[in-house]
Symmetry: C2
Subunit: 352 residues, 2 copies
């Protein structure tokens, strides 16, 4: 059995769970490397992946005997099979955030579960700390993202649309990686005031401000970076906002280390912004791994403590409705004494 | 208020619901045209969309006064606001398949809901029947998909990889539509035996069999079509399987009409396949609309009755592990006396 499944079985034992149903597909990928629809059922004797006809052949081709995972086609499972899976289990865990209320009721009945126990994201919590192989994949994804940014700076010309630029980025990633980690954001001019802008047909003009937020996946692991830059000399107001964002991004980097309280760091940025009459309208950062947004969530509400080998973003932003916005984002690895930036693109004024 | 929200309020009234929380983003898009993360809260007085800072500006730009929807940034909502939303509601509906067990418990507490009632997909059921505007969008999406297929047949050459072909399809759609309705499948040779194959680096060769399953979105509405075709003359076995799939696809088209029982139609195809020692390993079809897979689900288990202006697929397939597979799929509109195919690509042997 692989190390991650062994870890899970130890964890279950410490929580007095004799069985568990894993429903979050990312957790299933993390534990087994299976990338298919289905659920993972762990009982005292077996690890079982229940999928459907579309995936059976594919899942078999990924697994080896060493994995010790039995694959079932859901249509071959009888009512009795379901009742047998957890027959000798007093307590069975489930992922309360990943099954719907309807599915919860269905499982209770179908598996005849005695005590169905919420597991409070045990796997997501474990996923926050990356092992060497995961760190290597994350680093590769961030390096390719830096390369893509360098390339795209040379590619952009006045008259191109946001959509064209986004497509070029998407092609860059699709040729070199498993694909995008999220829909690429290319926003220009007043569109930069929307943190979540969708690339439009707006054409790049002289004296534009441009924000690009992009990432790719390597072996399933994501990168995430944002840069804001200028076509020709920025206005004084733009420079002012840019400096404020960048200063706070750097201050945050200095604070990121094992033991740091993410709520306090966010409060620091919020208060620096407020002193200048701006608000931080989104999170300061988030974990990055098999998901581009995962625990820990770094914002003013959530009280997380950073730990060694967490990989998180640092992305303060200021948005002035109808005018423009600035966001600068790196993906970084937390260490005992600070952090190592996996993103290495220039953060000074970039003028194209 | 728009017609769809008016319909919902009438429906709620018939179910004795004074309030409802809509969580399924597709249902929110259907009812309001809002395309953003958040929930729609309907109480006796107001329609409220609760979202976060990233989307507020964008949602405001979509809505008009006529929509009568109030937009809240989640961080401006106090504990008292939550308790007030449903203060005068005896019964509040929720979408049991679209909120997690964890969210269910959270809402119960936060909104102080007296009776929280499962609503059994009332909106999904309504979405099955398309109005004229929806039909027009679906038809446009299917037409562009036909055009793309014609183009791609002329594009494919021996030596190209599945990935290259998939990328060309993706580019075709991204230039003309809102984008893909699902990840394009291009499978060749033995890869066609996987119904859910992911495009690989396998190169197209002489005497290959190729399956392409693809679709795009127009104003959010999806198309879905599959064709299987040949590089050079197919083998006798391939012809035999192709004929069997095509005959059953045509038989199914003849059965598709208002009042038809989808379980019976599926059983017919299953039994025709079994007579030839093959199995139907996936659904025969599914509804198509804002989602590429939506109700009604057409398979051997689900007992759905077809109705006028449903739009569904018809996609029998046979898969011989390690050898090859054949699937042929159209998207069709159900009428009182039959069905109209929105997909119009050739279904006879295509040899490139």
């Amino acid at each position: 059995m692989n190390l991650k499944l062994q870890w899970l079985r130890n964890k279950m034992s410490s929580l007095d769970l004799q069985g568990i149903i894993i429903s979050n597909p990312i957790n299933i990928k993390y534990l087994t490397n299976i990338n298919a629809e289905g659920i993972l059922v762990i009982n005292p004797k077996e690890n079982i992946f229940i999928t459907d006809g579309r995936y059976v052949e594919d899942v078999h081709s990924i697994l080896t005997l060493f994995d010790e995972i039995i694959v079932y086609d859901i249509k071959d499972i009888s009512i009795e099979d379901y009742e047998n899976f957890f027959m000798f289990c007093q307590n069975v865990g489930f992922e309360e955030s990943y099954i719907s209320y309807a599915t919860y009721k269905e499982y209770l009945k179908k598996f005849k579960i005695k005590n169905f126990i919420e597991t409070e994201n045990i796997i997501e919590k474990q996923r926050m700390i990356k092992d060497d192989e995961e760190l290597s994949n994350l680093n590769k994804a961030c390096n390719i993202t830096d390369d893509c940014f360098k390339y795209i700076l040379s590619y952009i010309k006045s008259g191109m649309t946001e959509k064209e630029i986004a497509k070029e980025i998407d092609n860059y990633f699709s040729e070199r990686t498993d694909g995008l980690s999220f829909e690429t954001i290319v926003a220009s001019g007043e569109n930069t005031s929307k943190p979540h802008a969708v690339p439009s047909d707006r054409k790049i003009q002289e004296r534009d401000i441009i924000t690009i937020d992009m990432g790719c996946k390597v072996n399933g692991y994501c990168s995430d970076m944002t840069r804001t830059f200028f076509v020709g000399e920025p206005t004084e107001e733009m420079k002012c906002v840019y400096d404020l964002v960048l200063d706070n991004q750097k201050l945050t980097l200095e604070q990121y280390k094992e033991g740091a309280n993410t709520r306090q760091i966010t409060k620091m940025v919020e208060s620096n912004f407020k002193l200048n009459r701006y608000n931080l309208i989104h999170s300061l950062g988030h974990g990055v791994g098999l998901e581009v947004h995962e625990s820990p969530y770094i914002n003013g509400k959530n009280e997380a403590i950073l730990k060694e080998n967490m990989v998180v973003t640092n992305e303060p932003g200021i948005y002035i409705p109808g005018k423009f916005g600035v966001r600068i984002e790196d993906t970084v690895q937390i260490t005992k004494f600070g952090c190592i930036s996996l993103t290495n693109s220039d953060k000074n004024y970039i003028i194209i």
